[in-house]
Amino acid sequence: MIGRAFLATFRAILTDSAALMLLIGSAILYSFFYPSAYSGEVPTRMPVAVVDLDHSGTSRSLVSKLSALQQAEVVARLPSPDDALRWIESRRASAVVIIPEGFERHILRGEQGTVALYGSGAYLLRSSTALTGVGAALSALGRDAATDQAMALGAPAPPALGLIQRPLFNTREGYGSTVFPGVTFIIIHQTLLIGLALLAATMRERHGPLAFNPRDLLGIALAFFAIGAANVAYFTGFVFWFQDMPRAAGSLGALALAGALFVAATVTAALALASFFKTRERPLQLWIVTSVPIYFLSGLSWPAEATPDWLVLLARLLPTTPGIHLMVGVNQMGASLAEQRTDLLNLVALILLYGTVTIVRYCMPSPGHNLRRPIG
């Protein structure tokens, strides 16, 4: 019985082009489509405009050193700060370096020469990291630029404390390797959910209310589990390798268990959700609009510490929230299962919750069944 339902489910998917596209085609499509957005990885060179109001030897040497920086590309040398503002407003430059009048004089006197660095807050996420880099590079340039000062006054004392920054896990720190591993599990989650609900709604359109005996239901669930597991294997095994994302940091056993729990929670949630739809197109209509909020709620790009507590708790009802933490933990951070037991238990709780809803909805059609408002 289980085997028959398993095979029947695959037959149903293969004979429905929309479901086939959603469940299998879109994973392949999105695996190439999405990473292309991040193929630039680290923003290589930030376009910077320079305003030199000092016109001295020191300022000229600073400008020429600026153009050699890895983080910045000098796109214009402008006569006034007003011109520079216009360059920022029209997005031709992301930052402006202004060297004030008297810059060289200050340095020769043994004081600090202050350079003003203006970044565009209209693109805060893009510019904050780059600005920090340019700011640090400017200070470092100062050491060379200060030879004149040293000749006059002797070398300055080194600062008392220095800070070395070392990234852990995602060492290349590209946008892609930060965002895409999260997006991956949103893709797997959403395509399973929508594809399964679309099939269930189509069956309900044709045959009326759906009811299965527990063995058939298990067979159906296993078929979707197989698709989800194949997706996880495809992304963590092939796509992360092909796109050269941080991967395989944890053990294969941890990956298998974490992946299985994520897919099981997603399939039970999808079955539970699908039991409410009775129009074929409805799941597509209502569910594709949720991807961006689901991604942010996972807490990968916006930390739970800065999210209201009740929203963090509600977000844990989505399989993607613990799922993304687990998969990033296993694939990038090399975290062990013990270190991630909260997320594992979260997934187990979701499997139990949505599994119960699924069994109640499909195996025990109550007399009041028709009173529930079906979607569509």
Partner: protein, 396 residues
């Protein structure tokens, strides 16, 4: 509904298209939800999640191998910084890394042995911060804050030493950069993200709603009775009347979203609000035309909705406002250029945050109107032709 005698004129067809859609929405709970509480709910969830704007009390761990007074004072200063909270003082790096892997801390500050002695000798003691680059938003904020605390403490230490070591020997570094963030001086992620996420959600839901409205007539075979007998100008007006319902509804949501951030949260629109709304209108017209184009080409509601998910669902990644698209592949840059949202995001940055003159944003509106011309130019004839081709109806 009484059939009018003879084909309706465009004005009447527009009104009929409008009323036809209103009547349908009144009868369908879930289609009504898609223009009603669903956009409100999704926008509210994002607004609430990001309402903190800046990240405070991010958990970090300190491994203090030195144990001297300098290290103790540094830890005190770190804990007192608004952005940080020292949650653990593990004895070694091994234990500290475990905290990061279980996400109990975003960063580890290692204060090595002999820090105190190095500082007293007047040399530079190197501290190392290890941060979880997999969670880059939070750890980036934590590292910036740690850097600021360390730097200000170093300045304090230098001042203290002037008294003890020979004066004049201690001088600040010769060049320093003072960084100012223009247009968003508080560095608020709320302004940056919510201002962009709301229109990203709205245009996606809008395109889904329009694709559903257009596709439904084909699926149910009702397009024939509706447009079949009309001359083309009236059919165009009838379709425009149907779409106008959604444009009005989503312009209202745009006003709610803008009002929330500008009035309730206090991030005023520095440029022209009128231009911003003109941008919204142009964006909706562009996405309505793309929905018409795709419906006309696929003649299938489910295929159009899937393509809507691909096209309008990924705007946020490809618009270049959050992630730089300039250095991405040719395909990504091309795809980005083919999204009206890309032009809208530029207009939004100019008119909301930068306070650019209204005229500066006309090019973005012009770009969005190109989508209208191309989409409508191909979409209208295809869709209207389907009204007299019963063979293509009912395609699922």
């Amino acid at each position: 509904m009484a059939e009018p005698s003879g084909p309706p004129r465009p004005g009447a067809a527009f009104r009929e298209g409008w009323h036809r859609e209103i009547r349908f929405l009144q009868s369908s709970f879930w289609d009504r939800a898609l223009v009603g509480w669903i956009p409100l709910l999704l926008m509210a969830v994002m607004a609430i999640q990001l309402s903190a704007g800046v990240m405070r009390d991010l958990p970090i761990a300190v491994v203090d191998q030195d144990g001297g007074a300098t290290a103790r004072e540094l830890v005190r200063r770190l804990d007192a910084a608004p952005g940080l909270r020292v949650v653990a003082r593990p004895p070694d790096m091994h234990a500290a890394e475990r905290l990061v892997r279980s996400r109990d801390a975003y960063a580890i500050l290692l204060i090595p042995r002999d820090t105190q002695r190095t500082v007293l000798r007047g040399q530079t003691a190197s501290l190392t911060v290890f941060y979880n680059a997999s969670y880059s938003t939070a750890s980036g904020a934590a590292v910036r804050e740690i850097g600021a605390v360390v730097q200000s403490y170093a300045v304090q230490l230098a001042k203290d030493q002037i008294a003890t070591i020979e004066p004049g020997k201690v001088r600040p570094p010769p060049i320093t950069a003072q960084t100012t963030i223009l247009f968003n001086p508080q560095g608020s992620y709320e302004l940056q993200l919510v201002a962009l996420i709301h229109p990203a959600l709205l245009h996606l839901i809008f395109m889904v709603a329009v694709a559903s409205a257009l596709g439904r007539e084909l699926r149910d075979g009702t397009i024939g009775g509706w447009l079949g007998g009309m001359p083309p100008p009236s059919a165009v007006a009838a379709i425009a009347g149907k779409v106008a319902v959604y444009i009005v509804a989503f312009m209202a949501w745009s006003a709610v979203a803008t009002g929330y951030l500008a009035e309730v949260r206090g991030w005023p629109v520095l440029g022209s609000p009128l231009m911003l709304f003109a941008g919204y209108a142009a964006m909706y017209l562009a996405y309505a035309s793309v929905a018409l184009l795709v419906t006309g080409l696929t003649l299938s509601m489910s295929k159009t909705l899937s393509m809507t998910g691909l096209y309008a669902g990924a705007s946020f990644a490809f618009a270049g406002a959050i992630f730089p698209i300039e250095s991405a592949s040719l395909f990504a840059r091309l795809w980005s250029a083919l999204l009206p949202y890309t032009a809208f995001a530029k207009l939004l940055a100019e008119q909301w945050m930068m306070g650019s003159p209204a005229a500066a944003s006309w090019p973005h509106i012009a770009i969005m109107l190109i989508f209208l011309v191309v989409g409508a130019g191909i979409g209208f004839p295809r869709y209207i032709a389907a009204a007299t081709t019963p063979a293509v109806w009912g395609c699922r």
